[in-house]
Subunit: 198 residues, 2 copies
C-alpha cells in the first residue's frame, strides 16, 4: 500500500535518505476520515500535524456571530495543524474537517523529534517549513489589508488552481473573507471582461 506520498515527500522535499527512511519508518500511523468528518474540534488540544496522503482538508474558526472563517486548505502533500495548540498544549481555537474522503498521516511530536534526530536534513526542512508558514501568513495579512475582493480571488486561483476546482465556492469565499454572493458577482464580472477584453 501506503503512505507513498509521505515517503516520497520526505525523500524529495525534506532530503531524507533511503537509509534514514528505514530507521524513521517505524512510527507514523495513517487514518481515513470521511467527507464532513472532524479531525479537530475547537476546545481540543491538537496533538498531531496531519499530512494529507489523499484528499482535502480545511481549518476554520466560528466567530461570535456564528460565521465560519476558513483559515487554510490542505490537499495532497500538504500539512495541516494548529501549531499554536500543539506547541503550547492549549485548546485550539479552530476546527479541522475533511472536505473529501481523506487519508492522513498522523505526525506527533515524538515522530518529529525522532526524524530530526536521525536526519539533519529533516530538521532543517522542518525549520524551513515554519519560516514558510510565517511568510505565507504575512502575505495573507497584506492581501486582507490592501486588496479588493477581486484581487484576492485572482491571487487565490493563481496560487491554488487545483483547489479552485475541488473546493465549493462558498468555502473559497469564506477563505477570502467575503460572502458567497459577492464571490459569485466577482466571477461574473471577471467572465464578462474576459469575453470582451478591454
Amino acid at each position: 500500500m501506503v503512505l507513498q506520498n509521505f515517503k516520497t515527500y520526505l525523500q524529495s522535499r525534506a532530503g531524507v535518505t533511503e537509509e534514514e527512511l528505514h530507521r524513521i519508518f517505524e512510527i507514523p500511523q495513517s487514518k481515513i476520515f470521511e467527507k464532513g468528518e472532524a479531525l479537530l474540534n475547537k476546545g481540543d488540544v491538537c496533538h498531531h500535524a496531519f499530512f494529507v496522503e489523499k484528499g482535502l482538508l480545511r481549518s476554520y474558526t466560528i466567530d461570535e456571530m456564528g460565521k465560519e472563517h476558513i483559515i487554510q486548505f490542505a490537499s495532497e502533500n500538504w500539512f495541516m495543524s494548529d501549531r499554536s495548540s500543539a506547541y503550547f498544549n492549549e485548546p485550539s481555537d479552530f476546527y479541522i474537517e475533511a472536505i473529501e474522503d481523506t487519508t492522513v498521516v498522523l505526525i506527533d511530536k515524538e515522530f518529529i523529534e525522532l526524524a530530526a534526530t536521525i536526519s539533519a536534513s529533516f530538521r532543517q526542512y522542518n525549520e524551513r517549513a515554519l519560516q514558510n508558514h510565517i511568510r505565507h501568513l504575512q502575505k495573507r495579512i497584506n492581501l486582507l489589508l490592501g486588496a479588493t475582493a477581486e484581487k484576492r480571488y485572482l491571487d487565490f486561483i493563481n496560487l491554488y488552481p487545483d483547489l479552485t476546482l475541488r473546493v465549493p465556492q462558498w468555502m473559497i469565499a469564506s477563505y477570502l473573507g467575503i460572502t458567497p454572493e459577492s464571490l459569485s458577482r466577482v466571477r461574473k464580472e471577471l467572465a464578462k471582461r474576459n469575453f470582451k477584453p478591454h
Copy 2:
C-alpha cells in the same frame, strides 16, 4: 554603556543565567536611529533582528496604489525583523522605520547561534517566540476576516494600550486596515456611547 533592557530581557524572559550572559555578551552592537529614519528598505536583505532598547519602530509595506500598510509596531523590549528575508536571504518586501528616536540592539544570525549554543534556555525561548509570532499572525488574520473596524480598534487598544498613546492615529488606522478618517469616526462613535452609556 548599557543595553540594560536587553540584558534584563535575556535573563528574566529567556532564562539566561548571569554566567552565560557574560560569555554571550561579547557581541551585540547597539545603534541609534532618529525619528523617521529607515532601518530597512524594501528590496534590501534583512540581516538583523532589532531589539528595541528604547523608542518605537514600525514595519510597513507600500502597495501598487502607493498606500502604506503597517505590519507591526515594536516598542521597548520587542523585536522587529523581516524573518522571511533574513531566513531565506531574500530582498525584503517591507520597510522598517523609527517612529521615535530609537536605540536598538542589532541581533544577527551569529549572535543567535552563539547564544543558543551557550544557553539551552535561550534556544528554547527563541523557538517559543517563533511560535508566538505565528499565533499572533493567525489572530490578526481572524480579526481581518471577521471583525468590524470598531472591534479591531477595541482589540488593538486592549492589546496595546501604551501604543495607542504613542503612535499617531493614522498609523493605527493603517495597522487596522482602515483610513484615518474612518478611525476618527469610530472613535467619535465610541466616545458618544461611553458618555451616554447604553
